[in-house]
Symmetry: C2
Subunit: 126 residues, 2 copies
DNA sequence: GAGAAAACGAAAACGATTGTCAAAACTGGC
DNA sequence: GCCAGTTTTGACAATCGTTTTCGTTTTCTC
């Protein structure tokens, strides 16, 4: 639909890692785009609402986004230095989360699971 | 050491759930304390630095804190309605996270795992 | 007690995000 | 092609949690 949303989606696709809104905005501007920061936020919001992109929070509370390849439920292994992310699955973790919830009488269980580390490239570069 | 830090620690102890800094501040003020917001933040920072309390981020990026009973590494099952939290362990999840990290050449693996649900009390109350 | 160091708190500063609003781009009907 | 109405956009201001700054007060330490 909107051209701008496509622009943002594409900018996200060009990265393997999680990117912040401000970050994407800076990139697009430096590429010569006249896009506004508000629009970047709106596009990211729309994309994440429709489930097309994944969102998570960094330790300092900033929201970061990623266009994931896998459609199904998955988690991420994220490099804490360069932000590069790998999509991973963990059926056993899903089962564990559900079991733990049920065991304590909780219903409607969801979970957040992210693994952080230093990727091989960043480890050797230091 | 500091009286104020003790005050904050105690306020946290009185709750079973995760609380935000603003929230704790409001509580303390309404109890008649003359504590400042800055001090609440400083106390929470200090307590979390020393590992005495656990921190996590809500979906909207707010930091919430909890005084946990368990000293060892653990995770939380949190009610998304009332915020009540139960401390849970998942050795299999720890192993999974480490394995996944190693498998992709990542080092220095850490992970965040939180389970959300609706607790029995909140489910029946609706 | 005196003087130095640590803790406090009010107010200002900050940074990410959201709201406002007028201008610009797109619509379908003529 | 052109108009009225809707949608999208972007500059700017506002918000909100959090951090800094900077006097002031309290707490050691001798």
């Amino acid at each position: 639909m909107s051209t701008r949303r496509e622009t943002v989606r594409q900018a996200l696709n060009e990265s393997t890692g999680f990117r912040s809104a401000q970050d994407l905005y800076a990139d697009l501007r430096s590429e010569g785009s006249k896009i506004g920061l508000t629009t970047v936020y709106r596009a990211l919001q729309a994309l994440s609402d429709s489930g097309e992109i994944d969102v998570l929070r960094t330790d300092d509370g900033e929201a970061v986004y990623r266009a994931c390849i896998t459609d199904t439920h998955h988690h991420h292994l994220v490099c804490r230095t360069c932000g590069k992310a790998v999509e991973v699955e963990g059926p056993q973790v899903e089962r564990w989360a559900d079991a733990v919830g049920a065991q304590h009488g909780f219903t409607d269980i969801t979970h957040t699971v992210e693994v952080f580390g230093t990727c091989a490239a960043c480890a050797s570069g230091e």
